[in-house]
Amino acid sequence: MSTYQPVAGDFEPLTTQQQVEVISRPSLSYWQDAWLRLQQNTRAIISLGIIVMLAIFTLIGPLAWTADPALQDLNQVSQAPSWPKTALLVAPYKSWAGITLANYESPDSYPTTVPAVTGFKVLDNPTTQRVRLIWDPVPGADGYNVYRNNREPLDFNDLGLPLGSTYGDQISYEDRLSLEAREYYYSVVPTDGLDEYEIYTQAIVTPTLALTPDEALERGLISDIDLPGQGQEIVIEFHPFGTDYLGRDMLARLMQGARVSLFIGIVAPFLYVLAGIAYGGIAGYFGGRLDAILMRFSDFVVALPFLLFMILFKIAFGIGPGESGILPMLIALVLLGWPATARLVRGQVLQIREEGYIEAARLLGARDHYLILRHIIPNTMGVILVTLTFSVPSAIFTEAFLSFIGMGVAPPTPSWGSMCNEGVKTMLSHPHELIFPALFISITVLAFNLLGDGLTEALDSKMRSRE
């Protein structure tokens, strides 16, 4: 066992330590600290990125994508989203006599069954101008019914109504009925001139999109009627997000709709939060009877059935002919939206008013307006910012909701809500008309909600002390 042997140096007095306490990390203001903590929240930062992207989409998008959102292209109605499409230049339509059998005589009596049609095929190149079908004659049959289906028919009964009928010696059919560049299932059924034999032959045909030089010139796709020869392919109008039921470009409409929806969704909360700050600030700061009266009034406004009054106010502030109805909606939102913020700010102010530093400032001779501007409002900013962020989704929802029931923005001005309203009608056949605006609403609302969550956490001073 060894014992410690003291040396002389152990008994010398210690020198004064130069730095007793070192502030090793840089001092951060409240907002710097909040920003740092927000940055650690991946979801909030992604949301912030989405919001910035939405802003770019709304503000800069129309400069990059210059298609006219109001231009109706009835040649391209309800087109699904696609890559740039080309069309074949073809000669103007010439009538076709079809193919008939030489020396044909109608049979005197009809057999009970006949074999199925053979040799059912497309003649020439099928285009959206016309599809020409021919087939071999069936002995015993005295006519044929031609069917066209968009999907493969399950059985004979699934064929539906015939597209057309031929009689006697005619063994061809020309389809010119609003053809699209998509897959069709053609079927041919032999008949005895009246009744069908329950047997069909099927051919799958995909017509190519075709335009005559005249049509192309009219649509501004070519500059000279003779320049690209027939049989050439030309690029037609490009609609990356497809078109709506009037052939308007969806991407351009989504951008314009974003302007309306985001304008209402951001400006309205901003205005009513401002109104709420003023109202709640006054009530909370002055307190007493004024507070009681002001708060009672805000209770009444809260009790108003929100959507009924949105509709009523929107009508009451009137839209003249040719106006979009954005302003009345904004006024209505502000008139009904402020009490929540007012209540919140009042509570905050009541709390802050009793804090020691306010007393101190007052003892030092601070006036009311100095106290309000320097101490009270900055200290409520965190809560206000969070309210503002959460108000945006609800304002966007309200706009969308009203536009959806047809009480919102007046057509032709698009908003995401009114686009949804139009899209719902063609939901089954052209789902993209509903999906895109609904997706934009959802993403925006989601981004603001997640950002709000992140801000709540980042600005909460209780969380700060917990670390």
Partner: protein, 310 residues
Amino acid sequence: MLAYTIKRLIAGVITVWFIATATFFAMHQVPGDPLMNDKAVTPEIRANLEKKYGLDKSKTEQYFIFLGNMLQGDFGISFTQQNRRVNDIIRDHFPVSATLGLLAIFFATTGGVLWGALTAIYRNQLPDVIIMFFVILGISVPSFVFAALGQLMLVNINSFFGQSIIPVAGWGTIWHMLMPSMVLGLGTMALLTRLMRSSMLEVVNEDYIKTARAKGLSPTRIFFRHQLRNAILPVITVLGPQIAAITTGGFVVELVFAIPGLGRYFVQAVQQLDYTVIMGTTVFYGAFLVLMVIMVDILYGFIDPRVRLS
């Protein structure tokens, strides 16, 4: 307790009066009047009509006549639906809206409490992640999209079975009510799930839970008796405003599912400026909502004895 209820009811009556007044003056602010929808009439006929409906009197006079009638529970006769009393319209169509709304609230609260409790128990595990994903979806997708998708789902179910199992639209049987009320309650359910989750997470760390566990109580008993009962309180506080949001938010669902509720009449009445119907529906809705909020507040006092109603 009784004094509190009476006080709240008096405040409620004043609120309803405020709603009626605000509606009356907002409505008369709209340019035009209900008679302008009729065919062009001669000034004499118009004067007679105005006299019949009392529109020739001044606004204030009309306002007091309306208040008087309202106190007697009479909202007058509709302008656009001839010979139909507003009271009858409300009596015929409000029960539909109310059934839809209350059913939606039922779905939303049971679902919200259940899912919320589940996510808190399985915090950061797979069930939590999955449920919270749907919650985020429920919060950010507008109700009309859910309504459209719900209807689409019914169409697919029916076509799968080859017959109409669940009606796609309309009203009448419990089967008609199922999908619309679920769709209507979805947003609120998502909201309540989030709320329930956070309040449940707070409760889990409380001392009395540790005590209960130390005493050797079974996990089910702790869950139902101690956690759920305490965590459910914040959910009840937001229930009042949520009932309001759901019952007025029913329009869209009523529209999509072709349900003969009151919402449709309100929208129609506003478009046609049918004064009496607008007043009747708004005041009635307002009164209903005020009553609901009061009831939830009183209920809260019963459930949580710590809260002194005063």
